[in-house]
């Protein structure tokens, strides 16, 4: 098991090294895509073997359990789609002169490094190491967001780096406080940051200190997940980054940050009582959904619209995490994978539209369905996925979350969340119809997606459909993860 884990961690690092040494070319990009496939293969292999067990590796630093394996699969799938799309995306950019060889090499090196950092964040057993990995994602993606050297991209990068670094620093403070509480309780110095050790001491941790730590951790990792009120960087960063990077950030980085919160919640609950994190997550979650829904109604930018939709979904995930029952967490995980897939397809299609029109304003882009069957259909299906319509998985996950909230006596929360999601639904649908339907203006540029991009789109759609129809193999994994998170073992 450890070998599979190490292979999945080292594959993208090797791809990054290769691109750094040789510069970007179709070959190095294909190698990166192959490394993502390696991660997928390893994570599926791990999933079949892990069951309900927890396997610690690298002297207690790494942890292989159901949640880690699940998140690895999500990362792998989104990374595979994004890296395959990147091949065509960067090739077109280089051909059109929107970037140079140095920029392409930076992109090619940083993207697999980014994927590796995310993997470390979900597989680490030491919460200090989790922190290092999440901070590394911020630093690595800084230059990815600023890939297009425009004023807007620079503005987005600055906001992103500053807000996320501050948030992450606050999360580190929370980590230190948790470490202090555990050490005070008698845990050994080298081990008190390990999740398993923290779980075993969780019941006896000082409540006031745990509350302080929990609040800080919620603020810190909530910033990275785009929860209110530290969401200000999200729309800017996700809209200015190149499309495959936006797909990675929106599709899976936010979920990784949320997964860290989900991992820490049982510890805080045991130490400070269940009401603290529950109320905190509910408050920020609902506020995030509200803000996102309202911003969806006013935005006129394609990628910002997708970013706000990500925010909305993260808010919903936070609310589900607040409920905390097995059903809620399993539903939440299904939501994560479905959202990841759908958002990736949307961002890749949206990226192609951006490349064609050199603009992301919805007003500038109309009649897409008429001009390109592939992009139009992909976008339409992607939005249908996001809207939570059957037969796609998000329908099932939202239904399950609703049921979980009702069972957890959060009926009022459910009602408010559903209303806000309905507002978002309408706004999203309206913008999409403006984008896709209608006659194309006579001077509209032709949309010709590169082959790899088309391949990624089709694969993504197929995977979403497969997930929606038969989530079976993953269900056991999700339920196992949920059960492991129910309380300290």
């Amino acid at each position: 098991m450890t070998e599979l884990m190490m292979a999945s961690l080292l594959a993208p690092v090797a791809a990054a090294g290769l691109t750094a040494a040789l510069g970007w070319s179709r070959l190095s990009a294909t190698v990166t895509a192959i490394s993502a496939a390696v991660i997928l293969f390893c994570s599926i292999a791990l999933a079949t073997r892990v069951g309900h067990g927890v396997h610690l590796a690298a002297g207690g630093l790494l942890r292989i359990d159901a949640l880690a394996t699940f998140m690895l699969i999500v990362i792998a799938v989104v990374a595979l789609l994004a890296t395959v799309a990147s091949i065509g995306y960067l090739h077109t950019e280089l051909a059109d002169g929107h970037t140079d060889a140095a920029g392409a090499r930076l992109y090619g090196t940083l993207t697999p490094a980014f994927v590796a950092a995310m993997e470390l964040a979900v597989c680490a057993n030491n919460i200090g190491l989790i922190w290092v990995a999440i901070e590394a994602t911020t630093v690595i993606t800084a230059f990815l967001v600023g890939h297009h050297r425009t004023r807007n991209a620079l503005e987005a990068t600055w906001k992103y780096v500053i807000v996320c670094s501050v948030g992450i620093a606050v999360a580190f403070l929370g980590t230190v406080l948790l470490y202090f509480a555990a050490r005070h309780n008698g845990a050994a110095a080298a081990e008190a940051l390990n999740l398993d050790v923290l779980m075993s001491h969780a019941g006896a941790l000082d409540p006031a200190v745990t509350r302080l730590a929990g609040g800080l951790l919620l603020i810190g990792y909530g910033t990275k997940a785009g929860l209110f009120p530290f969401h200000t960087w999200l729309a800017d960063a996700h809209s200015q980054a190149p499309a495959p990077v936006s797909a990675l950030m929106s599709g899976v980085l936010l979920s990784v940050a949320m997964s860290v919160l989900i991992r820490l919640k049982p510890i805080i609950d045991a130490g400070a009582g269940t009401h603290f994190m529950r109320n905190g997550l509910l408050l920020t979650g609902l506020a995030t959904v509200a803000i996102a829904a309202l911003l969806l109604t006013v935005t006129g930018d394609l990628k910002r619209m997708l970013a706000y939709s990500s925010m909305e979904n993260m808010g919903l995930i936070a609310v589900a995490a607040a409920a905390g029952t097995t059903l809620a967490i399993a539903a939440l995980l299904l939501h994560v994978v479905a959202h990841g897939l759908g958002k990736t397809v949307l961002f890749i299609a949206g990226g192609q539209l951006q490349t064609t029109h050199q603009s992301t304003a919805i007003a500038d882009i109309t009649g897409v369905l008429q001009r390109s069957r592939l992009i139009g259909t992909s976008f339409a299906v992607g939005v249908i996925i996001l809207l939570g319509l059957p037969p796609f998985a998000m329908f099932a996950s939202e239904l399950a979350i609703a049921r979980a909230l009702a069972e957890a006596n959060l009926g009022l929360v459910l009602a408010v969340a559903m209303t806000l999601i309905a507002i978002g639904f309408v706004a999203l649908a309206r913008n999409t119809t403006r984008l896709l339907l209608g006659a194309a203006p006579a001077d509209a540029p032709t949309i010709c997606p590169p082959r790899s991009l088309a391949f990624a789109l089709v694969a993504g759609l197929a995977a979403s459909l497969a997930l929606g129809v038969a989530a079976g193999p993953l269900t056991d994994l999700m339920v196992a993860a949920a059960q492991q998170l129910e309380g300290p073992r």
Binding site: R149, V161, A169
Partner: protein, 220 residues
Amino acid sequence: MAPSTFALIIDFASGGMLLAAVLVVWRRALRSIVTLLACQGLALAAIPIAAGAYLGDTALLLVGVAVLALRAVMLPWLLRRALAAEPPGRRDATPLMNTASSLLMVAMLTLVAFAVTRPLTALQSTTLTDAVPTAFAVILIGLFVMVTRRHAVSQAAGFLLLDNGIAATAFLLTDGVPMIVELGVSLDVLFAVIVIGILTGRLRRLFGAADLDELQELRD
């Protein structure tokens, strides 16, 4: 080392950190702010070095020396390089809050820090943990500086204040985190400041000045 000497050193080190933070709010010239950050790094490094000498823990001593190299030398040097392109003696554009009100705000933040960290000192009252409120005050002052300054390097200085305060809290509460985490944290902070330095250079090239009020394009 006698316990009272140790208490005195910790007293002065954490007080020195707080004083450096106060002076960063007071002074507006960018070069003096960077010098103050270097002094604060010195005061910060004194904590693990003194604790290592007092407890006889050589690992902690080495960590202290590494912290000295990083936070008193490297990071201020990186910021000074980011400043190098500015005309000499340039002061910050008027911050969002005038100096007198900022200082009174800092007074209030110090009191808030002492109130918030009450559960920590109540849990374990040793020489080291009693200085935690001061480190926490530095964190709040760092956040305040980030929010009220308009120059890119001032925001970076605020971020470093925040980070120094958090590092001090880690050393005061727990004699530092495990080595691998400490390594990762130091590397991350280093890279973050490098990134900020590069971004400041790009800002200056694209916008003409590193004044953050120019960043107004992205909105709905």
